[in-house]
């Protein structure tokens, strides 16, 4: 049984009427403008179209959308990637998550994240990570309910000077012991030890 089904009944009933679908490359014209609009609403500085395409072109199947069945309007979206991290793990990354303000508090974000986690788990991800602002309690609660733990505090991580938590969810035993294949275990003290996920975390869910 998938984890989504285990989730609270409340959201199943209240969000049941929404349609949850996976993004596909040929839907760019239909959905990308709405995705951009929804996500950039809460950003001081918008991402260029290339950021969206970077994710959607390579990992469109890890993007899930909640649509209004009548109007087809985009209500919520989650955008992810999944690739081998330099630490040696096959790492999923939740880059963006947003739900329209009027629809928040109904478990839509949780459902979208669950779909993304299920999809990444099915593709043998070792772990899933993301960053979120330390003040974004709704976002932290959401992920922590699902099993994420805070692994690092990142001082002044965002452009606006705010600090972030990195949240991590292990999906497989032995993940902590994985090492890079190439032997270049450069554990440098880089700006983003977590990888190249510069200043992400559009967590507009509450």
């Amino acid at each position: 049984m998938s984890a989504i089904a285990n989730d609270s009944d409340k959201q199943a009933s209240s969000s049941g009427e929404l349609q949850y679908i996976q993004y596909e490359g040929d839907k760019e014209e239909t959905y990308l403008p709405a995705i951009r609009q929804l996500i950039s609403k809460d950003l001081s500085e918008p991402y260029s179209i290339y950021v969206y395409r970077y994710f959607l072109y390579q990992w469109g199947d890890l993007c899930f959308m909640a649509l209004d069945p009548l109007t087809n309007a985009l209500i919520g979206v989650v955008v992810c990637k999944l690739e081998t991290h330099r630490s040696g793990t096959f790492r999923g990354y939740i880059a963006m998550l947003a739900v329209q303000e009027s629809h928040r508090g109904k478990g839509i974000a949780t459902k979208l994240v669950c779909m993304a986690i299920d999809a990444m788990a099915a593709r043998q991800a070792d772990e899933i990570v993301l960053e979120t602002e330390v003040t974004n309690t709704a976002s932290m609660k959401l992920y922590e309910r699902l099993g994420f733990l805070r692994s690092k505090r990142l001082h002044r991580y965002y452009l606006n000077g705010n600090t972030a938590f990195r949240l991590v969810l292990y999906l497989k035993a032995g993940t902590a012991l994985k090492r890079p294949d190439m032997g270049d275990g450069a554990m440098g003290y880089g700006r983003y030890e977590g990888g190249d996920n510069a200043m992400f975390g559009a967590e507009a869910i509450a």
Binding site: N6, G25, Y54, Y57, L146, L149, L171, K172, R191
Partner: protein, 739 residues
């Protein structure tokens, strides 16, 4: 220009048609992406004609350039206002914002810096020649002197920050957008400008006295601040630079209301000329009150840092000072941390008779020892290299070999202690790996030392495997701090507290064990008359080891008691436990232990063992009958173990107190040491109250899962990061239930 050096004319190829044709072969949304196009690049990409991304985008009617005329005369009150606005921007920069959003939005600053002046005389609010009636008057000249000094301050700050380990953008933005901040021009030139300005203002007839004095105070402050920031200040005089600044701070604050800000002299339009590839970003609005606080903080922190110069030449004193400094609240800004780092890594600090790592080793495992006897280093090798070296020479060579090997891990350790609090924790998880490798190498040198010592027949005088012991002790100390910082930084969720305090207790118990080996050996040497107990070195050593032992044991017992309490709360379902449909306890344990899994020793306990310890009554949601029985019996192990651990901890804290900051080798950071100690004691006391209240409130509940309940309200306080040091000890509150 010579004809021959002229570059060839660029050739222009129109590719529009080719490009359009090629594009037609693609669907919308179909991406041509090569492997070199990274996420980082996609983030750096800008969309032309999007006002939020394209800094050159003009709204209808908007002009490209600002229209503020820096030569327009200003009111005296406006001079005060602009000076204070500049101070606000300067402090915003100090907290981590780039110059492009702070000081470089000032038209005055921009005019001085661009086009780049060849001499300071050219650095005017104008370039070239202007009619006499447009020449700046006394007020604008004073503003110019002030601005020049502000710019030079930035130059000095950047020099100091980049001279140490820091993280660009996270800690600080050193980017100057091709503006040269008068790097080549020496301090006295700026002093002369400021002195001249002060003189002119003093003799300017049309000024009210309060405004005149407000202006002079600011110019004087700028002089003192600039002197204090000079990177070439001699170490011995550092402490004399900060008090004069402090004396000028209050008058600045008091006269701030006199000033009249000129917001129009700041504009984001300057950003367009600073960097074309960055989206326009808003001016950082920093209130004077906040800026003033930051300024005060920088001055206090730097002044505090100058105390480092007077520390005894003891690496543990250094370590205590660095640890205390990193823990100051509010956290010292990057400049202040770099300032301390510069003192720490100054040749005068590092040039001690004996190398600092060696002093550290000696102070823990080789007190009054033949291994580190100074005379061993005075021996020359035999002229004939085929002849055997004397054992004492061999000892000095072996110790030197180890110290050289240890120098990088040691440096890394100190570097970590100089980072921002978040980095400190994370960097330490890397540093312990280096120390783990060092420990393996220490074992090899130890074997050689053991052999030589046996040859010399002085086995009983020398601690066996001393270098391994020293390395292990330092590593364990760091692991403890990593966990404590985890609590402080709100990394753990309440239902992890039991597990993390338990881990902390295990680590501290290992360190206590190491220390008891050291102390036993020391006692034996005293018993066999090898050490004269009245020797001052011995007195100091004995006090230090006692202090360390007390601290490690107190930590072990207090965290053990905490772990037990949180375990009880888990059984009582009084700790919020998330559902976690995607995770298991074992996976979370692995994630938490990740930084420590590579260490050998201490080896992380296998999960089964960990679980057995943390769940003595079976699963939290379905405890066995023994739980209720133990809870209801005040004499059960559940309560007595907890109470005994707490009692032990309190006793050990008393022991720590007896040795004081000096015994802990924290005499240079005594106030901070006492503060931290007080926090520990308070936590222990509070904790005792919690146990007693909880114990008194247990009652039997037939048919419930745990079989018991408590008639009190238990709350786990939220951690407010950066508030007080005892927040590493999260004591729940127990209060009467509202009926």
């Amino acid at each position: 220009m010579q004809q021959s050096t002229r570059p060839p004319e660029p050739k222009v190829h129109d590719i529009t048609e080719k490009f359009t044709r090629a594009c037609n072969a693609l669907e919308v949304g179909q991406l041509v992406k090569d492997d070199l196009f990274t996420l980082f690049e996609s983030i750096g990409a800008l969309e032309i004609m999007d006002s939020k991304m394209d800094s050159g985008f003009l709204k209808p009617g908007e002009t490209l350039e600002h229209d503020y005329d820096a030569l327009n005369s200003i009111l005296p009150e406006e001079l005060v206002g602009i000076m204070d606005q500049l101070l606000c921007h300067e402090m915003a920069w100090h907290t981590g914002y780039p110059l492009s959003q702070t000081l470089f939005t000032s038209v005055y600053i921009d005019n001085l810096l661009w086009p780049e002046p060849k001499t300071l005389a050219q650095a005017q609010f104008y370039r070239g020649s202007i009619p006499d009636e447009r020449r700046p008057g006394v007020l604008l000249e004073a503003l110019r002197a002030y601005c020049l000094a502000v710019i030079k301050c930035c130059d000095y700050v950047i020099a100091k920050v980049t001279g140490r380990d820091y993280f660009e953008e996270e800690d600080f933005c050193t980017h100057t957008y091709n503006r040269v901040l008068f790097v080549q021009i020496p301090l006295d030139v700026f002093m002369r400008e400021l002195d001249a300005a002060i003189e002119n203002i003093e003799s300017e007839p049309d000024l009210s006295e309060d405004v005149r004095s407000a202006i002079i105070t600011r110019l004087q402050f700028r002089k003192d601040f600039l002197i204090a920031l000079d990177p070439d200040c001699p170490l011995s005089q550092l402490e004399s630079y900060w008090p004069p600044i402090r004396s000028n701070l209050q008058p600045i604050k008091d006269t701030q209301p006199l000033g009249k800000p000129v917001p129009s002299s700041f504009t984001t339009k300057i950003q367009r000329r600073l960097a074309s590839t960055v989206p326009p970003r808003p001016i950082v609005e920093f209130e004077f009150k906040d800026a003033f606080e930051k300024l005060q903080q920088i001055c206090t922190d730097c002044e505090q840092a100058t105390n480092f110069v007077d520390l005894p030449s003891d690496p543990i004193e250094f370590q205590s000072f660095l640890w205390a400094y990193a823990g100051r609240k509010p956290a010292p800004l990057t400049y202040a941390r770099s300032y301390l780092g510069t003192i720490l890594f100054h040749p005068e600090t590092l040039n001690t008779g004996m190398s600092l790592p060696l002093l550290d080793v000696k102070g823990l495992v080789y007190p009054l020892s033949p291994v580190t006897d100074q005379s061993n280093w005075a021996l020359s090798p035999p002229r004939n290299p085929l002849m055997p070296k004397s054992p004492r020479l061999q000892l000095s060579l072996l110790v030197d070999e180890f110290i050289e090997r240890a120098s990088q891990p040691y440096l890394d350790f100190w570097t970590a202690l100089g980072q921002n609090r978040c980095r400190l924790r994370r960097m330490m998880t890397h540093v312990i790996i280096g120390w783990d490798n060092l420990q393996a190498d220490a074992g090899i040198v130890d074997e050689d030392i053991n052999r030589v010592v046996d040859e010399m027949g002085i086995r009983e005088q020398v601690l066996h495997d001393a270098l391994t012991t020293w390395t292990y002790h330092k590593k364990l100390w760091m692991v403890e701090r990593i966990v404590l910082l985890g609590f402080e930084q709100d990394i753990y969720l309440p239902d992890e507290y039991a597990s993390m305090y338990n881990f902390l207790s295990i680590i501290a118990s290992r360190r206590a064990l190491v220390l008891s080996r050291i102390s036993e050996h020391h006692a034996q040497r005293i018993a066999s008359g090898i050490i004269d107990t009245s020797d001052p070195e011995n007195v100091e050593y004995a006090s230090h080891i006692e202090s360390l032992q007390c601290e490690a044991t107190a930590l072990q017992d207090l965290s053990a008691a905490m772990a037990k309490l949180y375990t009880v709360l888990l059984y009582l379902r009084l700790v919020p436990v998330p559902k976690r449909p995607f995770s298991t306890e074992e996976l979370r344990y692995e994630l938490r232990m990740k930084p420590f899994l590579a260490l050998q020793p201490p080896e992380v306990e296998p999960f089964a063992q960990h679980q057995a310890l943390l769940q003595p009554f079976g699963p939290y949601e379905r405890p066995n009958a023994a739980f209720a029985a133990s809870m209801l019996d005040p004499k059960s192990g559940l309560w007595t173990d907890m109470e005994a651990a707490l009692q032990n901890a309190k006793g050990r804290l008393q022991g720590m107190k007896k040795q004081g900051a000096a015994g802990a080798k924290a005499s240079g950071a005594e106030t901070a040491w006492k503060e931290e100690f007080k926090g520990l004691v308070e936590s222990a006391v509070l904790f005792g109250v919690v146990i007693a209240r909880l114990k008194g409130a247990v009652r039997k509940v037939e048919g419930s899962e745990s079989g018991v309940a408590v008639d009190v309200k238990v709350e786990i306080p939220a951690i407010v990061v950066g508030t007080k040091c005892s927040d590493r000890w999260i004591v729940p509150t127990v209060s009467q239930k509202l009926k």
